[in-house]
Symmetry: D2
Subunit: 144 residues, 4 copies
């Protein structure tokens, strides 16, 4: 356990015009993208940017995805994506997300994604490299 245990990384995204739909609010699939932005920043803060993982020959591929959409966001609103690491296993990693409006804190969406680690060449499941595993494990959400 390090001081990073239970790390929650906040990332700000501003809603783009093209992310709205004719309901006048953010299109639901955009939240899937916001989650990805959130875990990208989580990995950067935790010490190993995902781009670096790909350069080293590993892919993290979304295997399971679930979202609960509770409230809607509008064009040009700033949102906060709060990302935490729910658990990490030999070949997979689960991130959890809470997306809130930055101005008033209202909860928009919660979600989880499980990603599998693949060898970029063979596209086969492969163990998460140990340095990444350790850096991430140190940031794992507590009381899970």
């Amino acid at each position: 356990m390090t001081e990073k245990a239970g790390l929650v990384v906040p990332t700000t995204v501003r809603v783009r015009y093209g992310e709205t739909d004719q309901m006048g609010v953010v299109y639901h699939a955009a939240y899937v993208v916001y989650c990805e932005i959130g875990r990208t920043e989580f990995m950067r803060v935790a010490g190993l940017p995902y781009a670096e993982m790909e350069r080293r020959g590993f892919l993290f591929v979304v295997a399971d995805l679930s979202l609960k959409l509770r409230d809607s966001a509008r064009y040009d609103e700033e949102l906060t994506v709060l990302t935490r690491l729910v658990r990490i296993r030999h070949t997979s990693i689960v991130f959890g997300y809470e997306i809130r409006a930055a101005a008033d804190g209202r909860l928009l969406t919660t979600g989880e994604t499980r990603l599998g680690c693949l060898d970029a060449q063979t596209k086969k499941v492969t163990p998460i490299p140990s340095d990444f595993f350790e850096k991430m494990a140190a940031c794992q959400a507590v009381a899970e």
Copy 2:
């Protein structure tokens, strides 16, 4: 029960270039869009196009979304989205999806979405209109 019970509507989509990512396969959020295309065609076949529902002042808003991504698809591949109605309630409706490669039938993704019915003016939850409810209920997946 009517002759449409257990209706499964197949829709074909061809993977667009912009739907791929640098892994060389379809970006995961694209499957969320494919599911929406699937339920749009389901409603059309079942007898009430969604666009017509909006013209009448109702919105169906995604409240829960879950996907299992099992295999990957490539640029220009034809995919078959198989959509069924899992259940319909007073104010919500659950669709289920199976996305397969059209050429070889391999299973890519399964998923479910629950949509809530809102009044387009007030944005409040409202009962699904009865003609739509009945047309959809007649198409519900059996043995659920």
Copy 3:
């Protein structure tokens, strides 16, 4: 000159919900995607699918892009993308597009894209392979 000279390939796309924005009509960047779908079908009809070109180690990369947006399209509308080959040169190819509403024929968008041919390995400009060049040249718009 062959019977294909002046070939115009029509492709149908149906507007997806996520392609609308809060103006209630199709977001402008979606037309860029529709153009790509159009030229993909043009190449298929002309005899050499673009996916095949990539398998052979060539990339066609958009270098210039221009669109005039004249009218708007709505969710679930069927659009017709009419694609023609404006000209083909040693290392580049220009496609022209006309996007119309399928139901009433109203003109939505016209545009052109110039694509350069790259070697997929080196990412350097390279001559368009001769079989592709000939198949395309035979379809070139006349009197241009």
Copy 4:
């Protein structure tokens, strides 16, 4: 002429994974979105956020769009969108863009968009409101 004449507003965007395609670089249509982000920030800096214009009943709709794509950007790269106001007329406004890699300054894309001002209710062309016109005109690129 005010101190804002020739205003150039820089905006940073970080390339999202889903904005790449199987070429391993940013998909060309993403630059259209980056331009929109650029002009949104330009209007905010110039003193009248676009969201405010829509609340007041005006829409700015893209009528013409042109891009020259000169170099490619990669996943997770930071880009700088430099936006300037090329000219403003009674009912339309032209923005110019230069998109560069933030790290090394290499030029990726240049472009222009012309937007027409519409009344949000009638969807008819309408004069740009005078307070917006004046704030923007004061920021116009010089010597154009």
